[in-house]
Symmetry: C2
Subunit: 331 residues, 2 copies
Amino acid sequence: MARRPTVTSVQIAREAGVAQSTVSRVLNGGSVAPETRRRVLEVVAKYDFQPSQAARSLVGSRSGLIGVVIRDLTNPFYPVMVKAMERVLHEQGMRLTLVTDVMTAEEGLAQLRREGVDGVVFTSALQDEPLAHRTAGHGIPVVLVHRTLEDFPADQVEADNPTAGELAAEHLLGLGHRRIAMVCGLAGSSTAQQRGRGFRDRMRAADGAALTEIDGDYDYDTAYAAVRTLLAGPERPTALYCHNDVMAYAALNAAAAEGVDVPGELSVVGCDDVPLSAWERIDLTTVRQPLERIAQVGVELLLGRIEDPELPHRHEVLPVEFVGRSTTGPA
Amino acid sequence: MARRPTVTSVQIAREAGVAQSTVSRVLNGGSVAPETRRRVLEVVAKYDFQPSQAARSLVGSRSGLIGVVIRDLTNPFYPVMVKAMERVLHEQGMRLTLVTDVMTAEEGLAQLRREGVDGVVFTSALQDEPLAHRTAGHGIPVVLVHRTLEDFPADQVEADNPTAGELAAEHLLGLGHRRIAMVCGLAGSSTAQQRGRGFRDRMRAADGAALTEIDGDYDYDTAYAAVRTLLAGPERPTALYCHNDVMAYAALNAAAAEGVDVPGELSVVGCDDVPLSAWERIDLTTVRQPLERIAQVGVELLLGRIEDPELPHRHEVLPVEFVGRSTTGPA
DNA sequence: CTGAAAGCGCTTACAG
DNA sequence: CTGAAAGCGCTTACAG
């Protein structure tokens, strides 16, 4: 396999009658005489010259690459985030490299190191996740987005998840529900812990309220199976609080499969407010978190830290908002 | 910004007491004495050494990077494809770089050239799309996946879309529908053209069948607005054939918004069979195309071509399958 | 089997 | 403002 012929800065220089370093200066904004600049740019345009990223990142101090760790890309939550991050990065002339669940955490870290990323965004960190710690351990700037880790020495951005749980509980209790089940997200995730805590706190304050908790792992299939079992069982709850929208969809569908009317016999509340949730066929009552904003702030914090590693760590908590729709009703 | 200290092959060599080129040979499978190999690997393991991709792709003939052009990542169709492609690439030790709609086609091509991709997968080519042509023009191997281009000199993989259209028409006609509307995908896309053609062909063979065509652009919002207008109008059809599932969801939701019962007053057929379509709340009658298989075959063809550019071009057409669910009923 | 050397395409001091 | 030169971290002939 011969490498296909690509125009290099040396060829541009030769044709423009300048030194190769002058081409570099023109492209990177060094001081160049207007006439020289014009001549170089003309040749650059003629060949639509694109400087090699490999060479650039090899010699420069930056690769212009940001790693984004997203385990499950099929959760509709994440494409929205990816898009928001790409937008910010693209404005800065930077690129994004994805680490998904096709590879192990180990392989993911190796990948990020080989690619020489300037920083990494973690979107789904778990308490026992070694990847974020080890990445930071290699001196790579890290930001934790959406899910956070207590005492982790890095910038972090998340929604006000305890309040999200409280708002959900308040809503259901206000409708008169007392036999409630909570479909929990991944045990090691901060979001599940915080949303669970907020919900439980409000529940405890209510008279005669009984809370059952089941594991949904933030996964459609897991939640679907768990909710079907629950609904087919003896002590069917009158309301369900799901730690994310995807599990709420699973609950809605499980209810349909079991012939349980929503919201007549069962109320369902989610968390996230993914675009899907507004669909008439779904119309999910949920708690909105500012997905795009979280992604955007996360990338901005990371870029700021890459610029200045000495900045004090910031931990942003963004407000959530209750969104009442038609999957909830009186007990 | 100082570059953070990274272990290099020179340091590994020094500590192992060998030449740097020997380290390279150990890592890339050259001939090395067992004892030498052992010593080198020991040091490699000690530092968890990861060779720089930048250096490697600068000097080598391959970057190990494959560009994947996906315009709209939020269509649930695409994450499934990305995952399938990542899986194949990861097995080959290769990586994927995404080009989405945060950048223009122009910027996308520039990006791919700067990154020195070994090849590019186009998943949403349009007839007037210059990007695929120009990419190939730069000598970069290209494969067209899902959407194809007639007479394009490259490997192509698609579903049997004409048959998809025919199956949908057959189903609706068989249920007695005669006043039918077709919600069309992007005008310049092969899928919309082929699915439309297949559907029209069958329609023409049916007595007294009237077909209205409206533009949905493969976009949820566009299709939603168009279907609401259609349903609110005077000559409401009894059935809808949508060129993809996302527009069918829009149609389902638009019907709900207009108070039109599905399938009682309106039947809806989609195309794709994205996982979502099987949800009880959606339960869309559709025509399945083998998403993952298309993605997989596409990447395999591309890798084969990179290996041997002289291979004759292949054009694979994969079978589709009708999936009857509950959004369709008798006229 | 192994080492010394060239070179990939750039950026970045360093002179002038 | 501009050029000559060093060097980023590798792979790949080329000797031995």
